[in-house]
Symmetry: D2
Amino acid sequence: MAIEGVMRSGHVQIRVLDLAAAIHHYTEYYGLILTASDDRRAYLKGWDEFDHHSLVLREADEPGMDHVAFKVRGENDLDRIEGELRERLIAVTQIPAGEQLGVGRRIAFTVPTGHRIELYATCEQVGNGLPLRNPDVWPDGLKGMKASRFEHVLLYGPGVEATVALLSSVLGFVVAEDVVTEDGARIGAFLTAASKSHDIAFIEAPEARFHHLAYWLESWDDIRQAADIIRKKNIAIDIGPTRHGISRGLTIYFFDPSGNRNEVFSGSYQHYPDRPTITWDAAELGKAIFYYEGRLNEAFLSVTT
Amino acid sequence: MAIEGVMRSGHVQIRVLDLAAAIHHYTEYYGLILTASDDRRAYLKGWDEFDHHSLVLREADEPGMDHVAFKVRGENDLDRIEGELRERLIAVTQIPAGEQLGVGRRIAFTVPTGHRIELYATCEQVGNGLPLRNPDVWPDGLKGMKASRFEHVLLYGPGVEATVALLSSVLGFVVAEDVVTEDGARIGAFLTAASKSHDIAFIEAPEARFHHLAYWLESWDDIRQAADIIRKKNIAIDIGPTRHGISRGLTIYFFDPSGNRNEVFSGSYQHYPDRPTITWDAAELGKAIFYYEGRLNEAFLSVTT
Amino acid sequence: MAIEGVMRSGHVQIRVLDLAAAIHHYTEYYGLILTASDDRRAYLKGWDEFDHHSLVLREADEPGMDHVAFKVRGENDLDRIEGELRERLIAVTQIPAGEQLGVGRRIAFTVPTGHRIELYATCEQVGNGLPLRNPDVWPDGLKGMKASRFEHVLLYGPGVEATVALLSSVLGFVVAEDVVTEDGARIGAFLTAASKSHDIAFIEAPEARFHHLAYWLESWDDIRQAADIIRKKNIAIDIGPTRHGISRGLTIYFFDPSGNRNEVFSGSYQHYPDRPTITWDAAELGKAIFYYEGRLNEAFLSVTT
Amino acid sequence: MAIEGVMRSGHVQIRVLDLAAAIHHYTEYYGLILTASDDRRAYLKGWDEFDHHSLVLREADEPGMDHVAFKVRGENDLDRIEGELRERLIAVTQIPAGEQLGVGRRIAFTVPTGHRIELYATCEQVGNGLPLRNPDVWPDGLKGMKASRFEHVLLYGPGVEATVALLSSVLGFVVAEDVVTEDGARIGAFLTAASKSHDIAFIEAPEARFHHLAYWLESWDDIRQAADIIRKKNIAIDIGPTRHGISRGLTIYFFDPSGNRNEVFSGSYQHYPDRPTITWDAAELGKAIFYYEGRLNEAFLSVTT
């Protein structure tokens, strides 16, 4: 009972052109905590996460996302989901424990949009920097924007409808909000595993691309401070501070040194299974994405990695 | 999968001495929406709730709580839970659909602390004042503190440990945070059904009493505005604005005209089943409850209804 | 001693195409209080101002600014300043008391940028909606963005340097911040009468135009709420929420129904005469005006009334 | 014209029992910048102040205030004020330039409440950590509460009415708000030099004592963060976060290691000479001082240094 099966977006592995530059960006400016690194990959977490990491940076020749992984409640969930995927003739790859530091065995499959989705049940806990007994409300030494927890990714690709069908039926995701054309075709979907407004979102596009990853900030005032830091540190800004119509989230978008888009996100609502799906007409996409501007900026549609 | 079984604290029915005065307090100042009333009871909801109500006011000679009800995901959850309760020889009362306006059948039982707990699966949806297609971020006409959704209740009574055991084993609640004496006795427990830091909390006390009900506000700035309204309208304040150590929530406590304690609450964290339980020593109860003051005010322990 | 001579920007009179539509915009959305109107003009004030009005709307065929008026401390300041202007061979017009409702005699002159500047010493006080004895912190019944006090105007025109020289020498204005070209020419100036970061600002341009008027909001959270209202009410937005490099002010720009630009403004600093002037290079104008975006939007330079 | 004569509260010199402990408190927690120190005194400033210091800590056997000093616009103001004081047969002490590091000559006198008031016109400028050309909105490296500028002191002593009369007539202070008994006796006065809601305040009491010094924070969210720091660092809290009725300021009170009371303060209004004086009845003193609590805590009246 309570939260079962897929709990949340657990980590995302992205490609960066220069590992050292990326680590600097994600620790000093985004405010993540570096928990481990080797010459190929670096592992980072939001300060208020207990698991070993929620972001993996992998040095590569091109930016983009390797995979996004959801954490499930138990090892048996992995077996059950693997079985259901295979029943649907979907190829499943098994990744042994330890391939990522601290993470147990994972299973991986590809959704119709072309993105690799992974699932895992166990991860070493390193804690949130506070004791489990009589803790303070935040630890000393936080930096930059103080991103506190991994929130979601947004992906571009073909076959949003089929991807939603798969994630809903096998993984139990719920469509919190979606975007439909005049013909009724669903060209955008924001899916939640449990209570976040979205753990993952898809926008229909010709090929599989990575749009952004988001971490949580505590308030609109922290969004302002993030904006100050973006300017002070000459980080490439995309848009914001602004608000989404979809999710009502308070937001600012910017880019890491490799061109991967980052978001810091706050506000929004708590989702439950009896909350009705909110639908946006494609004609209102501007307001849906950037509530204040009422229109998309060019970068939103064209710049992905 | 995802959120199953008990989803959340769904509604609370409390007793008030003067129904008209209570309606005025909860609509004009707390900012709830009145959805229905008869000469005995009034039904209210937070603006961002879709269900018919989350607060029922019943006119009576003494203040206090009649019951708190949790919403489960499906009717079959009611049958299953009723069966598990009866197996444990716990008396279960069946309440027919319609006893509360808009609410389906409920089952009720009493926990060791002496409080009546109810469960229900269906409730008429009246919406959150916004269209389901291309909605704005909030509706016009909100009043007072703009309480947006029912958050939790805190109850005083004997037998916290046994109550926690029952709610955990049968209803699937998880202890997010608790308070223990030097001897290891648990004298306080904050339980979550899904992802809130707590849906219900108990403090060990000689008899069953109602401590407070809480609704959600969006920000610390809204807590300040609530404080302004409390003073402007001569509402009896208890304490705040302040912060809890437990849950890290931002808060202010005050009283309705009948003496029932209200809270407005913001901040806090998102709970998942793999988040470790936080434990507070009874010697640190002051910091646990009122993080800034570092000690309890006298009213917190002594004033209940 | 203390604040002498010119105290602050006291009121601005602007032209609107439809008086009723303008009144609706400035009261329901901007949140000003209508204190009087006739068939030609409407008088409005921010809720926390004591004087009869700070904004006068005059129905006309074209939008724009009639004049901006500064309030001086005493009637003798008017005589002294009139004398100093005439000594410089600057034409001064005397406007009798009562030409604007509640306002005493005014003197008017034209600065090199082509704008009409007025001065007055007395204005009927209507209060801020709170008693002078044991007041609450804000009155009931505030609407929309709750603009609290007139902050400044920004004007476009030729001869910024000469205008600054005149306002500094005769009216005692201080340049808090300015913008200079590579050649050292001053193409922008932000002038303060006393302690605001600016009471009036000028940007060099070929002809006399009105860029915007600004009122004060209490916080960044109020700026967010203003942005929500702009979208909900389909008000034409220009840019924001964002921040200025000049003044560090938190801001959002939008338009009244006649196309006059409005700003709501918060944050910034307190100016004193010993604060050094901050200078911006024209090459950094983007960051100076819109700190987060780092560049001007096209409207900022081209849309004026 | 503009701001003339006394501009603002410029610095305060207080006594501390342990200079190193005090420096640690005021730099690491309060967030001031240490600009100089010798074995007797330490000089500190708020980050957004340009002058060399606004707080001087002097090691001594007892806590309390040595003097508070107002900065005047010019050296001639010192001569004029000294003359006016002597005409009133008030003893004036001349302090040579350099007695405090970076500060020009000062004059000192004692007001009826028994406190030493000083005036000075010149102070070395060390800047606010940002360039004067194309600055960012805040410098890197700020600590703790990030106190940005000296705001005011509140003093207890006998003869408030006479003190107000002297400061008004000779120094040009204006009473922004006051507190009167049923008999009409003024037992509290909040005086402004220019545009702050108060630069200095007095409460009638049997002997000359120091109640608190206050620095400015930018927002209510910064007040919350200050409260977090107070608890995390085990700083002795007095009361708050709360709001004043007088000045409407958002506030929290706490103590330095020597027992001197500190305040961080935000919000409030901009004062101009034509703003009417707000008067509070002594019977409403609770609401006047602590708007939310509606009553004084015992410490407010009894704990002074």
